[in-house]
Symmetry: C2
Subunit: 76 residues, 2 copies
């Protein structure tokens, strides 16, 4: 099943972005999961793009990474 809508990151891309950022900040999955309040198992799945994560999971993690999610107009 595919979840990625046009113009929006797929869960795989989101996971990759999260992993890249985490490595940049030089923290482990374990640290990020604990600080964010998400299980290690879930974070692993999220980074691997093997999940269809909930809003809460996503926001918890990206917040730790110094990111936020913004709604933006798609210009055609």
């Amino acid at each position: 099943m595919r979840f990625n809508a046009p113009h929006t990151k797929s869960v795989a891309e989101l996971g990759q972005a999260i992993k890249k950022r985490r490595l940049l900040l030089d923290i482990t999955q374990e640290d990020l999961s604990q600080i964010g309040g998400v299980s290690l198992r879930s974070l692993k799945a999220l980074e691997k793009g093997e999940a269809n994560p909930t809003w809460s999971q996503i926001t918890k993690i990206i917040q730790v990474l110094g990111w936020k999610l913004e709604l933006k107009e798609v210009q055609q």
Copy 2:
């Protein structure tokens, strides 16, 4: 339980934004739910902020509304 992380829209705010946009486009919940491929019951909950929706649910809906989600740096 609260899901809203700092700097990111809470589910309530997200729901309100979706509803506002839907009304602007002058379509019903039923239409939006069918076009987006999400159940009417779920869309109602989403607009009311009574949900912790999944990535797929959110992207399906905002796509129809001509929106996308973007990761943005939080500057402190």
